[in-house]
Symmetry: D2
Subunit: 296 residues, 4 copies
């Protein structure tokens, strides 16, 4: 019989992930700062905890899906937090995209309470989360990863293990977001060149998306850029910029120059300056390229 789990953070991503855990048969104790977001889950059998700490059971497992380093630290570090409640044998599965440095600090903190920190950041948008089509990067202590294996398998379509270092999974997650951002910038530049030479960017997107770059990122982002749709429900610029900054901070901490990342960061900062913090990053980057090119 599946284990009872705690779950903290029921935003766009957390809510569908929690729903899938219920679906997989796990009794769930949930907490969200804005309690109303838990309603649908409770209707499906989840139990509402009145504090974040209350989701935890001694020696149990708690998942968190929160927005950034500070949000994760605020539920973990104070005295009496869910981490202390978990105590010996407990595991914290941290799904958030946070800095590798914060992940390492949290792992150290948890160890004092004999709790294992398993980093498990995910790739995928809310619809992918709902469809259990996330890709999950994990890192942490081997035994803890074994224990949570089926839990993680129940929220995504594949898990990739990057070893013991609590920070490693987040490094890979940041690499991925950086690779996507670079793909967006390069597609926008290429499509600008095509458009200025009388070629429909959609036909270019179609060709590359079905040949050399026949993969989800180039197909999805390529068509979105080519069609110049401005998206409402995507990845908001502020969050995208947060991740690019995390990548550059991790890069600085390990003395790794990343000129493409620097350039994409400037593109995003320019988007912020133009008041586009709530637009999808794809739109912001592509529009920046188009404006520099005098298009539209």
């Amino acid at each position: 019989m599946p284990e009872t789990l705690g779950f903290i953070g029921l935003g766009n991503m957390g809510e569908p992930i929690a729903a899938n855990l219920i679906q997989a048969g796990h009794p769930l104790r949930v907490y969200n700062r804005t309690a109303s977001k838990a309603a649908a889950l409770i209707a499906n059998g989840a139990v509402a905890a009145s504090t974040a700490a209350d989701v935890a059971q001694t020696g149990g497992i708690v998942l968190t899906m929160l927005s950034d380093d500070r949000a994760v630290e605020e539920v973990c570090l104070p005295a009496g937090s869910f981490v202390e409640r978990l105590g010996a044998g407990g595991i914290h599965i941290s799904l958030s995209t946070i800095s590798p440095a914060a992940a390492r600090r949290l792992a150290d903190h948890h160890r004092k309470f004999q709790v294992e920190y398993v980093a498990a950041p995910v790739f995928g948008r809310p619809d992918a989360a709902a469809a259990r089509r996330l890709w999950v990067c994990i890192s942490g202590a081997a035994e803890a990863k074994r224990r949570v294996q089926t839990i993680i398998a129940s929220i995504g379509q594949g898990t990739f293990d990057f070893g013991d270092d609590a920070g490693a999974a987040n490094i890979v997650k940041l690499c991925g977001n950086f690779l996507i951002a670079s793909a967006i910038e390069s597609l926008a530049e290429a499509f600008g060149l095509a458009q200025k030479n009388g070629i429909d960017p959609k036909s270019v997107a179609e060709m590359f998306g079905s040949t050399l770059f026949a993969c989800p990122v180039y197909q999805g982002y390529g068509m979105r850029i080519a069609e110049q749709k401005s998206e409402s429900a995507g990845f908001r610029l502020v969050l995208a910029l947060k991740d690019i900054n995390l990548a550059l901070q991790a890069a600085a901490a390990s003395s790794m120059p990343m000129p493409f990342a620097s350039m994409v960061r400037d593109r995003c900062v320019s988007g912020m300056a133009k008041g586009r913090e709530n637009m999808d990053w794809t739109t912001v980057i592509a529009r920046g390229v188009a404006e520099d090119a005098g298009l539209k």
Copy 2:
């Protein structure tokens, strides 16, 4: 019965393409500056022409696969060239990656002799050419494209049509090479970050190559970069830089800023400065990133 074709330029790419045309049943008249390269084709039934012009028959079709603008212009523009020999009803299928501007100039030139210029640059390395797995971009007059359709189908796995403009297919080809170069740079930066954080780049390449970036470019280049193999038989830096310069010239001609292209160009110029003109571009770009990062 398949038409007799002329073929000029039997280098790494031209030779296997010509072989596939023979395979498809076309009688072939071939010419190469270094005649010895034609030996294998002649053994398979091709007829050696003693001059480039001699490969042409009135109203026929000639394919060229040459290294750059100048090489194509040198066989096309002089009085008595194969283009004049083709004359009314003739078609020149130009497989080379050349500048869109040169393609347009050639189309204008050919028109004086009632010859159609069909641009047909290809994606793929020599092994892909041999395996008939090239992707072909075409542009030019509609009727001419119809006539050469099966010929082009016999050398690749797919054809993409970008309209009437003789320069269009080359614009798309340059977009493609630029996208690949950007992917290489971004992969090299991401893998550097991973490596400096104790993560094996191969595991990162494997994950992204089987998920978000499950496509030939990221799989092939990703693994080559992660394994830090230096390749002998790849795409030589001088040729890669030639193509990036063509992209930037086409961009300048249409007032299209391409900051990623500029940055990759600087990376390649640095490779030239370090004496790596004959190394594969993947190795050169990745090594440049690694050296800036103090790796090895």
Copy 3:
């Protein structure tokens, strides 16, 4: 008769500045974490305080010259700090190059104790400090700036006032360091082009240093780069990178894209990666340019 002053931080810059205050007739109470550095000043009449707080007198003036945000905050923020000792009517002249955000936070903090924060970051190396040839940017409350006017005049050759905002002087200081870094990078690129074309960079440095760019930065840095001297006593890379990062953080906080700053930052990160953290920034930037160019 000149006022008694407190002085905290007797490093390469602080020590000669403090000496000039003594020279100007100010009785001085000094503190440095490493007490031995105060010896020369004490021999000249300064009084050694046993704690940082002890340098302060009620309603008096304290100057600090410390390495970064944290160092300044550590002497200012704890209960019982020199700021509390100053109390009503006190002034803190902060000479350090710190973040504008930290300066603003400190000003807010000080206000609780009725202490004014006058930001006064300086331009100039230790020898310029000794020669009273520093340039000083100041910002803060008007009356406080008036009271410290002659004090600041006694340590430099000119003072520039940037208004009330405690962060303003540091913004200007960061602008200045960014301008210098950009000048270094551009000189190194230009000299590389000259050198590769058989022209002695020194002759180029001489021409521009006596014509279009006849100013201290281009003359001084220009000749240093052209002569490829590696300097021991200059501005260490770690400190330079600290300042460039401060500029980029201030830029991010105000949504200001600074692509040149991003590029210089990558150049410095690369220098860190190559183990050059203790070399002069001029040497590190110029050597990075030269290595990318395959020189030496």
Copy 4:
């Protein structure tokens, strides 16, 4: 008694330079494609030649001030050009900013007619030309440079000799324009940061223009950027971009990566895309920075 000189090219720069040669006592034979531009000079004693070749006298000296490589080549290379008329002992003083490669080709060409090519590109705007305040870079054969020394001295305030290589003076000229462009970009970025933090860029321009950067470029361009004046009579973008492209071509030819130059080039290409080809480059670069920053 001063020697009779030929002068070809009476544009914004050529006309005031020619006037100064008359002022210095030189009988002048002038030619301009648009003959009307010679009127003022003829009124002052110049003799109008009916063809470019006609300005030359056997063994004499001809100066040219033309817009680009092609314009210079078109007056020099055809049979019967002024170069042939000069013949043995003749000297061509080429004031134009052209590519070092073209300068070298011209020197080779001239040698066949025993004519010496002295490269003498100048720094300064039309008003500086009128005021004899140009700075002149020269290179070429030593004896020829000696013979033209007083002529060149009469058009500027200083001459800098870069040796025998006909291309050298133009390399230095391109270095200079690149350094100015980099200074403009960096000033615009710094002023943007200041402005976004409530600091008047003029006060920043004043400080740096009177201290660290107390030189003509930073004073002149600094104030122009800070005041956001759009200039009519300056250095038009198309010409500025031409020079930056020449610098990058010379850099590519000598395998010299110049990332700042690449970035400034993209900035100028963006200006072209926005239809600003006839605006002053300072305005274009500064406005590009401001737009990326969401200012105005």
